[in-house]
Structure formats: C-alpha cells, structure tokens
C-alpha cells in the first residue's frame, strides 16, 4: 500500500518549518515591502548591526552561563529523583510524585513575586544565582518527569545485573546509567535551555534589571531595530540551544561505551 506523503510534508512544512525559514530569510534581506512591488533584497547589515551591539554579547554570555547552571542543576535533581521514583517503592511515592510535578501548574510569576522579598533578604536578588534559582521552577518538574520515565525504561534488573558484576555505585552510574540516559539528557538540555531563554518577567523580577539576559534586551530591541535585525536576533535565540546541545553532546562522548556508532536504536 502506497501512502501519499504530500499532506504530511505540506502541513509540517507550513506549520513547523516555514516560520523558521521566514525568520532566516528576513534576517538576510532588507525589511519587506511587497505591497510596493519590491522583491527580496539581500543584505548582511542586520547581522553586523546585531553583533556590533555590546549588549547582545554580554546578554548572550549571561544567558549561556545561567542556562548552563540551570541545566546542571536540572540534570542533578532530575537524575536523583527520577531514579528514586522509578526504581524504589516507598510510602508516599505517589504524593511525592504529584508534588514534584505540581510546579508545572503553579504560575511562575506568582512564585517569583513571592520569592522576591526572600531573595532580597538573603542577598540573592539582582544576582545571577537568584535568576538561576527562579529558572529552576519552570524547568525542574519537566526534567524529573523525563528522567523518571527514562529510569523506568532502563529498569531495575539491568542495574542489579551491574551490581552483581561488582560495579561500584559510581562505576554503575558512569557505565550503565548515564550512557543509557543519553537521549533523555539531550531532551532535558533542549528543554531547560529554551525555557530558561524564554523567561522575561521572572528574570526581570529576581534579576532586578541587573542581570541582563537575551529576553531582557528583546523588548528594547523591538522598539528600535527594524524587522531584519529583529529576525536576526530571533534566529540568534535558537542558536544558543544548538550550541548548548553540541557542548553536551561532546561531553556525552567522553562517557565510557559511547564512542561506538549506535547501530541499534533503543
């Protein structure tokens, strides 16, 4: 039976790929004026304008630093609690599980407003550490969910097998758990970085305008820059997760048993 692939590629192209292309094309062309019968005019000005802005580079750097820290904490919290939830049965497990997922539903704006005074009191307001902490709220529940699922897939028996063969806790983690969780680590990387890069309001509240990340300069840019520069800036947003992904992928390559080609998808 031959299927017609056209509907899928049409819809996927229109809904998911076209917007990306739109940004790319706009970033390399002058602002469009099709209504005046003008065509596309290629230019690189937008990019050079964007890159010549010193704010962009410091904001990018801070976004990366904060994103990396948020990711690190996410992986740590996600791995530990995901393992506990997936491999152990203990009293109150379902309650803990729903409690850990609940922050997905709580408005992060309310949490940030509530934490603002506390952050001032402990001296974390207006610091990047405070921003990292508040970025944990919308990201960690997802990471826990992802690692919980991943650990359930790997399953307890495989870990016991490693125990039986005399692996220490650390060696088991490095040789069995991490390599088998690499797909989830990739997903968590993407998810946390993108969510962290999306936060304007809570970064503004906790960072107090002192911690300048990319979203913090997005609105000022919008007022001054033309469509081409804005498009370039938008594309720039998507490049950061890719950079982070490449870094994480490189780190994953350092794990034992990972230099081999993956012939089988699991």
């Amino acid at each position: 039976m031959k299927r017609n692939h056209l509907p899928f590629y049409f819809i996927a192209g229109l809904l998911f790929i076209a917007p990306t292309l739109l940004l790319l094309v706009q970033s390399f062309t002058a602002p469009w004026r099709f209504q005046r019968g003008e065509g596309l005019q290629f230019q690189l000005n937008s990019w050079s304008l964007l890159f010549s802005d010193p704010n962009l580079w410091s904001a990018t750097l801070w976004s990366l630093v904060i994103g990396a820290m948020v990711l690190l904490m996410n992986v740590f919290i996600g791995l530990t609690s995901g393992k506990a939830l997936a491999l152990y049965s203990f009293q109150g497990r379902t309650i803990v599980e729903s409690l850990l997922l609940a922050p997905i539903l709580i408005p992060v704006l309310a949490v940030a407003m509530g934490l603002h005074l506390f952050m001032i009191r402990v001296g974390l307001a207006d610091t990047w550490v405070g921003v990292v902490l508040i970025h944990l709220v919308p990201t960690v529940p997802y990471s826990i969910k992802i690692f919980h699922h991943a650990y359930s897939e790997v399953g307890r028996p495989l870990m016991e097998q490693s125990q039986m063969l005399g692996a220490s806790v650390i060696k088991q983690f490095l040789t069995i758990e991490l390599p088998l969780l690499r797909t989830s680590i990739r997903s968590v990387t993407f998810l946390t970085i993108v969510i962290s890069l999306s936060q304007y309001a809570i970064t503004a509240i906790i960072g107090g305008g002192q911690v300048i990340t990319l979203p913090m300069i997005f609105f000022p840019f919008l007022d001054t820059a033309n469509a081409s520069v804005m498009a370039a800036f938008s594309v720039w947003f998507a490049i950061l997760p890719l950079v982070m992904y490449i870094v994480v992928e490189g780190l994953l390559q350092l794990l034992p048993y990972s230099r081999k080609p993956w012939r089988i998808q699991t």
């Binding site: 790929i17 469009w32 019968g37 309310a110 949490v111 509530g114 709220v137 919008l222 938008s234």
Partner: protein, 285 residues
C-alpha cells in the same frame, strides 16, 4: 536495612529542597495577598473584585487561555493521529519539534512578521490586489480580542501536544483497530473505544499545563496584547512594579486568585480520572 529503606528519600533530597522554592514563593504570595496593616484582611480581594480593570482582565485571560488550549489540543490530536506513522522517523519528527527551539517571545515576533497590519500577509494581499491598502487588513496583533496571543500559543503549543501524545499513540497496538473493525465499528468507534480512553489522562494533563501556562505567562501578552483588556499576568506585573506600594498586594491577590482557579481545575481533573479508574477497577473485580 535502615539505609536501604531510606535510600529513595536520600535520592529525593535535592528535589525536595527544590520544592522549597515554589512552595515558599506561593505561600508568600498568598500571605502578602491577605496581609493588612494589622493582621490578616480580605480587603485586597475586595478591592480586586470591585475593580473593573481586574474583572475584565480576568475574564479575558480565562477566555483567551481556554480558546488557545482547546484549539491547540484539538489540532495536536488531529495531527498526531493522522501522522503518527511519520513521527517514528527521525527527520519528520525533528521537523515537527522545530518550533520548540524558539522561546515564546520569538514565536510571538513571528506572528508580528506575518499578521501585523504591515506584515507579510497584509503585504501579499495588497500586492495581489485583494485589498486596497494595509489599513484594510484586520488587526490581529495587539488586538483587543487576543487573536494574536491565541494564534501564537496555538502554533507554539501544537508541537508540545504532539510530543506528549505521540508516545501514547505509538503504544497502541494495531490489532485493537482491527478488532474494532472486525466487530463492525466505524472509524469514529475506533477513536472512541481504542484511542480516547488511552489519551484522555494525557489530554487532561496537557490541557492543564497549557491552560495554566497561557493563563499566566507574561511574555507573549506583553508583546502581542493591548492595554485593555490585558492578560492578568501583564496587569499583575504592572501592579507589582507600579511603584506605589498599595498596588503590590493587588498583584499578589490577582496571582493567588488565578493560581486557585488552576488548582481547582487540577483537582477536578484528578477526581474525574480517579473516579474513572475506580470504575475500571471495579469492573475488573
């Protein structure tokens, strides 16, 4: 033995420490919303509900969030069940998830590029001669109906819905569809008896996540919203930063009230699913 029994709690320690952040934050928000000059008070809520600005904003927010979540769910289900075969393959799957690489802010900007009065569509319609000038193009961004906000959210959340639903769909054995067919069921029957019971819990979960998010996120409405009515998040943010300290409790009250609405929804969904599960269990006994 002792250690063995405590091990999961030891592993959960970082996550439980993390929980302090949202719970402390929410608790403070609630407290600030009922704190008066001396002792607790409900006056901020009274002021809040008496204010037309808030009621208009609240209703507008709920309406906008509901439309956005329901439509993105419907579209997500439709796309997942139609194309789940494609999603098994790498390239199509990655293409579907491409929008997830962009923050909501950026997606909002794409809407401006496309739907603004001087945006791409307006330009194309003018150059095709379908409308005289861009003034005739409907106002879909920064409009008082929230169309720009809704469009952004639907478009951005569809990949998320697909991401969550796809594992459910790929786990449904083909033989179930065949079974319904051999018993004379229609395609609708197949959906109702095979898919619906399996996707319902995930659908409710995804609905709650998207609804809670679209109801309270600040960035997209700040970009695509108008000044009246404004989304409750934008209003609260303004109150929080208004400079006058009288408005801050209002910001807390607005956010607390909204949180309660979400909790109520979550509780209802939980009870509904639990009742269903209990019934299914009883049927098995």
């Amino acid at each position: 033995m002792r250690l063995f029994r405590n091990k999961p709690w030891f592993l959960l320690l970082p996550a439980l420490l993390f929980l302090i952040l949202p719970s402390y934050g929410l608790a403070t928000a609630i407290l600030e919303s009922i704190r008066g000059t001396d002792g607790f008070t409900g006056e901020h809520y009274e002021t809040l509900f008496a204010s037309d600005r808030f009621t208009a904003s609240f209703l507008f927010s709920v309406r906008t969030a509901l439309i956005a979540s329901v439509l993105s769910l419907a579209a997500g289900v439709l796309l997942t069940r139609t194309f789940s075969g494609y999603l098994e393959k790498n390239i199509p799957r990655l293409s579907v998830w491409l929008p997830m690489v962009f923050p909501h802010l950026v997606w909002g900007y794409i809407m401006i590029l496309l739907f603004a009065e001087t945006g791409l569509f307006s330009q194309l319609l003018v150059s095709l001669g379908w409308i005289e000038s861009s003034n005739e193009f409907p106002i879909w961004t920064r409009d008082s109906n929230g169309i720009g906000i809704i469009l952004t959210y639907i478009w951005k959340e569809i990949p998320f819905v697909i991401l969550m639903l796809f594992p459910v769909y790929s786990a449904i054995p083909r033989s179930y569809y065949d079974l319904v067919e051999t018993l004379g069921g229609s395609r609708w029957d197949q959906f109702k008896t095979v898919e619906w019971p399996r996707i319902l819990p995930v659908l409710l979960e995804v609905f709650l996540i998207i609804f809670a998010f679209t109801l309270t996120a600040y960035e997209v409405p700040a970009l695509l919203g108008t000044t009246f009515p404004e989304m409750v998040s934008v209003l609260s943010y303004q109150w929080f930063y208004s400079g006058s300290f009288e408005d801050r409790p209002l910001a807390f009250a607005a956010m607390t009230g909204t949180s309660f609405l979400i909790m109520l929804g979550a509780l209802a969904a939980y009870l509904y699913l639990n009742r269903k599960r209990m019934r299914a269990m009883r049927g098995r006994l």
